[in-house]
């Protein structure tokens, strides 16, 4: 762990990215922002893979995985945005509160 301070900083940023993402999910009411929160979370996790590759010396593998994660997550984001578009189309709002009719 010769590059300890760097690793430390990266760990901090991973946790804060994931935390900000989750907070965004919890707190925001706009559907687009919810998707952004999801993206933030996953980007933090992708960084965790890079860090892992760096720590264990398997940078290639780590980068491959991080790229795969980004691709997969983009698809999810696209799906989410498509749904958001439909919701805006049908309900005329992007407020997440409009999506609480199914309960009990």
């Amino acid at each position: 762990m010769s590059n300890f301070p760097v690793a430390f900083i990266v760990i901090l940023s991973i946790i804060s990215l994931a935390g900000i993402g989750f907070y965004c999910l919890l707190a925001t009411r706009n559907m687009i922002k919810v998707i952004i929160g999801l993206q933030l979370m996953v980007k933090g996790v992708a960084m965790a893979f890079i860090l892992g590759g760096n720590l264990t010396g398997q940078v290639n593998l780590a980068q491959t995985m991080a790229l795969t994660v980004i691709v997969a997550d983009t698809i999810v984001a696209v799906m989410g945005l498509a749904l958001a578009v439909q919701v805006r189309h049908r309900l005329g709002t992007l407020d997440i509160k409009a999506l609480s009719t199914l309960k009990r």
Partner: protein, 503 residues
């Protein structure tokens, strides 16, 4: 056929076929809709039959003493016991659902996408079950999730459908992010994502490994509907097209559970207390699921909640298996997975058939409530009988399949010589009785003499819809009177699961 070809075929076939099916359906939309769609449906069925054949060939290789596995780059994939049972359920249930959907989805907007995505869903579940690599497992899991998002929100002009789709998407995406985080941590600490090398490298229970395990349980737990992570489930199950509800309940949530078990088995040497955690979640799931279902008036929502309870039985089985290194318990868990797929599949298909003939077939997207079913047996005797059969099976009444699988789980639980386990047996059995309190009144309604207005005005039912239900019903009864038929599947799966735990 050699094992490499079998493995690759098993995984690649549905994914290669799915776009072709879409194209068949798509190109024909403007010109000759009928021809193209028929071809698409037939191709879907053909691919599923081929998948079944490949699984069968894989088993033949197995029985001859070989192993069905190969490497794609550094990624190891192979058909082991778990892959066999999950693949069988996915392909078998998928086959029934595809047949059921032929009349159900007829002329829906986007019909051609439906079959392509359904096949992708099935293919991704098979892939997930065959994967021997943590990251690859996640990729299949994500593919399964993505294909199911679309299917859940299929009726994209219905607000309720969109709502459930969006909630499902976000919660599921959060789950997969958590899983990924856990896998990243494991990768950082062990330097690998291949299951066996993680298994051999992760030997001590450091806090960081425990954190990874917790994230993985919660992440996969969202998909597997562990209470309190289950909140997406009743919405998604009740709003999806009925065939998809059957798939979601019958195999998708179980696929989440299987992925969780695979990952936990990798951590077997770290003494992570996964057994007790699963057991606790199991008991909570059973009780919460039953209570939540008790006062439901929407049929599909009730079935959805009952899925939460049924997953609880599997969790109890697997929890006991891991806790006490019990082979029988693991086999019981897988057995319940199999029987639940048949029973809940049948229940959702039958409920879906009612939903179709009473509401959706007439273009109304209202929910099927219990009152609609009053006296339905008079007009739809076969479907009413099949629904009753499925519900009685789910309630654990003999001689149906559900009783036998619960029995196996309970035998194993009682086999752990402790007072706590006896209490769990009593708790689980009493909950089975509690579940009767919501299954049985539905049956009473079906057999009333005074038919409800909705049921009286229903359309006639197509035999194509009934056919897959009959197949499932026969399976339920046959397994119920001859439970050891399933032993080959369940005990091989148990062997694969318990091997990393040193059993």
């Amino acid at each position: 056929m050699n094992s490499v070809l079998i493995t690759l075929g098993l995984i690649a076939l549905p994914l290669v076929a799915a776009p072709i099916i879409y194209l068949f359906g798509r190109t024909s939309v403007r010109k000759q809709r009928l021809l193209g769609m028929t071809l698409a449906k037939l191709l879907t069925l053909l691919v599923l039959v081929l998948e079944g054949l490949l699984i069968y060939l894989g088993v033949q290789v197995w029985v001859a003493g070989g192993s069905v596995a190969t490497n794609i780059g550094t990624i190891q994939v192979g058909l082991d016991g778990i892959g066999l049972i999950v693949g069988t359920i996915a392909v078998g249930l998928g086959f029934c659902v595809v047949i059921f959907s032929i009349p159900y989805m007829e002329n829906e907007n986007g019909e051609e996408k439906y079959y392509a995505l359904l096949l992708t869903l099935i293919g991704s579940i098979v892939g997930l079950a065959c994967s021997m690599d943590l990251f690859n497992l996640w990729v299949w899991f994500e593919l399964m999730a993505i294909s199911s998002y679309f299917l859940v929100a299929f009726y994209n002009e219905q607000p309720a459908s969109l709502e459930s789709g969006f909630k499902y998407l976000t919660q599921s995406a959060v789950g997969s992010a958590l899983v990924l985080f856990g896998i990243a941590i494991l990768f950082s600490t062990t330097g690998s994502v291949a299951m066996w090398s993680v298994w051999s490298n992760a030997t001590s229970g450091t806090p960081i490994v425990y954190a990874a395990a917790a994230l993985i349980i919660v992440g996969f737990g969202i998909k597997a509907a562990l209470v309190p992570l289950h909140t997406w489930l009743p919405d998604a199950h009740s709003q999806a097209p009925s065939g998809i509800s059957a798939m979601l309940s019958g195999i998708v949530i179980e696929a989440g559970l299987v992925a969780m078990l695979r990952t936990l088995s990798v951590l077997a040497q770290t003494h992570f207390p996964s057994g007790i955690i699963l057991l606790v979640f199991g008991c909570v799931n059973i009780l919460a699921g039953n209570l939540l279902a008790l006062r439901q008036v929407e049929v599909k929502r009730m079935l959805a909640y009952s899925s939460i309870a049924q997953v609880g039985y599997m969790l109890v089985g697997f929890g006991v298996a891991i806790l006490s290194s019990s082979y029988v318990a693991a086999a019981g868990g897988f057995f319940h997975m199999l029987t639940h797929a048949m029973m809940k599949g049948l229940a959702f298909l039958a409920a879906g058939a009612f939903l179709y003939v009473l509401h959706i077939g007439k273009g109304e997207h209202t929910a099927l409530v219990l009152d609609d079913l009053n006296g339905a047996a008079k007009k739809y005797p076969v479907v009413a009988f099949l629904l009753s059969l499925a519900l009685l099976g789910l309630g654990g009444l003999p001689p149906l399949a559900g009783f036998m699988s619960k029995w196996q789980i309970l035998v194993a639980t009682a086999g752990v010589n402790s007072t706590l386990m006896i209490c769990i047996v009593i708790f689980v059995a009493l909950n089975s009785v509690l579940s009767l309190a919501y299954y049985v009144p539905v049956i009473n309604r079906l057999y009333r003499l005074n038919i409800s207005e909705t049921a009286a005005a229903g359309r006639s039912i197509s035999w194509i819809m009934v056919l897959p239900m009959v197949i499932l019903a026969v399976g339920i009864v046959v397994i119920g009177v001859w439970p050891s038929l399933a032993n080959f599947l369940t005990f091989n799966a148990a062997a694969s699961l318990m091997y990393p735990f040193g059993v």
